[in-house]
Amino acid sequence: MGQEILLVGPPNVGKSVLFNRLTGLDVSMANYPGTTVEFKKGEAKAAGKRFTLIDVPGTYDLNASNEAERVAVDMLSGSPAGAVFVLDAKNLESSVHLLLQVLDKGIPTVAAVNRSDLVKGGVDVERLSAETGIAAIRTVAVEGEGIPQLEDLIVGLLDGRVSPARPLFRGWNEAERIAGRVRATPGEGGRRERWGDLMVRPLPGIPLAFLILILIFAFVVGLGMGLRQYVLMPFFEAFVFPPLTAAVEATVPEGTLREILVGEYGFLIKSIEWPLGLVLPYIISFYLALSILEDSGYLPRLAVLVDGVFRRMGLSGSNIIPFLLGYGCAVPAIMSTRNMNDKRKRVTVAAVVCLSVPCVAQSGAFIALLAEHSLLLVALLFAFSLLAAFVSGAVISRLLGVRRDMMVQEIPDLLLPDMRMLGKKLLLRVRHFLKDGVIPMVVIIGAASVLYETGVLLLVSDLMEPLVTGWLGLPKEASTPLILGVFRRELAVLPLLDMGLGTLQLMTASVIALLYIPCIAVIGVLAKEFGLKVSAAMLLATLAASFLVGGVIAQAGMLLF
């Protein structure tokens, strides 16, 4: 571990691109102690000197009150070797305002004026240096321009050759004066800007949003299925399962133990097949799509478009992020609500995500289950999930008396995502899944196969039989996934695969699985975040909702068909 250098600046200035240019592959994402604000930390080298670069969460102002801003202030109040401040050439006034606030913290600082290719007439960095008393250079992070000069400045910081700037008078007048001297007039908006504007105009923005989301969905599903069917499963079936089965059959005598290991719900087979063969491909495709959405600048535009709908749920469009995350996994989705200040709002979002947003693993399972029968069923189920999300959100927020946040959000320029950055992000997230997601899943599959092969599950199935066969119109074995679903959400679906269900049964079972109680990991997070009472209430509510709605669908369907 070398000395620490902070990378500071407002949001949307290309800070993370600079971060990626400066650091190598040894990058990690961490939560700031006591918060859920994630920040990146990476090992870097400049002129042979090693140092740790910390990407401070982007803020507009050090006096604002949200958690990310508090983290930024806290980091600046520590004792780093220095700070690299990234200014936005296109929005110089607010960048200078923030720079003055940062300089006030008394840390040795150098400045990089990024996006300097986007302004006509250029940026007078010498003037900026003279006005603020710190070294400043021009950069174009996406092109890699100015990176060597920036590294030189960082070496200066590491050597202790930069002294903190004299305290400056703060305030907008000062910032406007300096920015005026440095003189940067924003360039004319090009084709990309026109597209960016069109995307937030209700027409064609809303149809376009539907199109984009459908394309993304198709991409996630297509890539996920492709990876599963043509890469991962053939690989496991050809090279992993046969030797594994052979080895077990050679060493373990026929009987319960062998069945537990390689039988129908064989632990060794399923603990590779489910997490790595079925879920991992969707983790990869989902996070790739999410990273593209994030990096292209489309997410804030989507937030603006959905605000009108979200306000009916007592939320604002910016809250779309936990929902999108929820389509990945409910755990990060619930954690990401922490920067919402209102607990009731957090509970609303968490409840909606638990109830009606299928996680990527479950979505994959749904597609595996329903697509074979009919693609229409898949579309129907996801339409139902959206409807359920809206209705439950509206009801819960009213019950809790949630007050809406008002949206004030910058809409950044559209950007072509950088492949290298996408790759790095994906790597970080897949690593996270393999570390934190696979092991609990394997343990639970193990427990389940023991319960299954020893006949305990069948016993419980017998007890649930009247409910499952009478009210829900499903075969008796369908109680197995309901029990397994407590462990992992997709396990409420996967065992249905081989049951030969009819269309109505498929729909009923899928709706129940969708609304059914969240998996054990999510229950844990809920209890940790909101207390036992709230999580117990959510368990009961999801359980009741799933059996009620599922039963109604089954009964109505049986009456009609």
Binding site: A64, D197, R311, M407, V408, P412
Partner: protein, 305 residues
């Protein structure tokens, strides 16, 4: 169509109310639709009037009618207005069956009800004399467009009043500072039948309560912009929320919020309104080349020169 217009091309009156353009949604409709909608308004208005003149013959029917159409709406309006008991209230457009006036009087307010139809005021006052003689409601025949409201604490403008825009302008001109106007507006699909008043463009921060069947109640408080400031004499009362798409304006006053200010929303800055979202969503504005999405309610607290 006109190209980019500048907001300072318009001149304002002392209160700026007459000069504020109120967008008529019918402008976009083809003439046939406009004619149909106008006709529908007239026909529906007449239908309600004749329904009321039938209902008023029976106290029981009247009571049912009140419960069905008025109780909930009035309850929510009173909740929104928080008018102290004993306030002087003017009801404009009370009709044959003055339910709004009666309800307000029951809540202990001193109510004057006017309608521009002398038949309506006559039958309304005879109805009250017959059914609820203990309630203190004065009736008069007057047109909202010429009314002087300076003596009232609040004015209620009922759903069927036309031209509602002109009436509201007049009310806001003559009311004293701090007094309220509550008016009923169509919303949703019903706006195809009745032209709504664009409440965001009256220069005051509207408070809204939505009701069933395509109605909403809007409350405006004279002299309050909803932001952390009161309007001064010289300010027009034009807010960012009413700036039409494609137009630009200069910010006169803006709430002191770190994020809002950092995004360039500060006094003296020129803002261009780019687009608006349906369902009361945010509007997109551009300041110094930066695009910012702003909640409609926040935009209503940003005052333009």
């Amino acid at each position: 169509m006109e190209g980019k217009r500048r907001s300072n091309d318009r001149s304002y009156g002392t209160l700026g109310i007459e000069a504020i353009p109120v967008k008529d949604p019918m402008d976009d409709e083809p003439p046939v639709m406009k004619g149909l909608a106008n006709r529908a308004t007239v026909i529906l208005g007449r239908a309600f009037k004749s329904l009321e003149s039938v209902v008023r013959r029976s106290p029981l029917l009247a009571r049912v009618y009140e419960e069905l159409f008025y109780s909930r709406i009035l309850h929510r309006e009173l909740d929104m207005s928080r008018l102290p008991s004993g306030s002087r209230v003017l009801v404009v457009g009370s009709g044959h069956l003055p339910m709004t006036a009666l309800h307000l009087a029951r809540h202990g307010h001193e109510v004057t009800a006017v309608d521009n139809d002398p038949h309506a005021t006559a039958s309304a006052s005879s109805f009250v004399a017959r059914v609820t003689p203990y309630l203190n409601v004065r009736f008069g025949t007057a047109d909202g467009v010429d009314a002087d409201t300076s003596a009232y604490d609040a004015v209620w403008v009922t759903f069927n009043v036309t031209p509602k825009n002109k009436v509201l302008e007049r009310m806001l001109q003559t009311l004293s500072e701090g007094a309220q106007v509550v008016f009923r507006n169509p919303r949703g699909m019903v706006t195809r039948l009745y032209a709504p008043v664009d409440a965001d463009c009256l220069g005051l921060m509207p408070h809204r309560r939505r009701h069933l069947f395509g109605k909403e109640s809007v409350m405006l408080v004279k002299g309050s912009c909803g932001g952390p400031f009161e309007l001064s004499e010289t300010e027009g009362g034009m807010t960012l929320a009413c700036l039409q798409c494609g137009l630009q304006g200069v910010i006169a006053r803006c709430p002191e919020d770190p994020v809002l200010n950092a995004l360039g929303l500060r006094p003296g800055k020129t803002v261009v309104s780019i687009s608006r979202q349906p369902f009361g969503g945010p509007l997109l504005a551009s300041v110094d080349g930066r695009k910012v999405a702003i909640d409609a309610q926040v935009a209503a607290s940003i005052l333009l020169v």
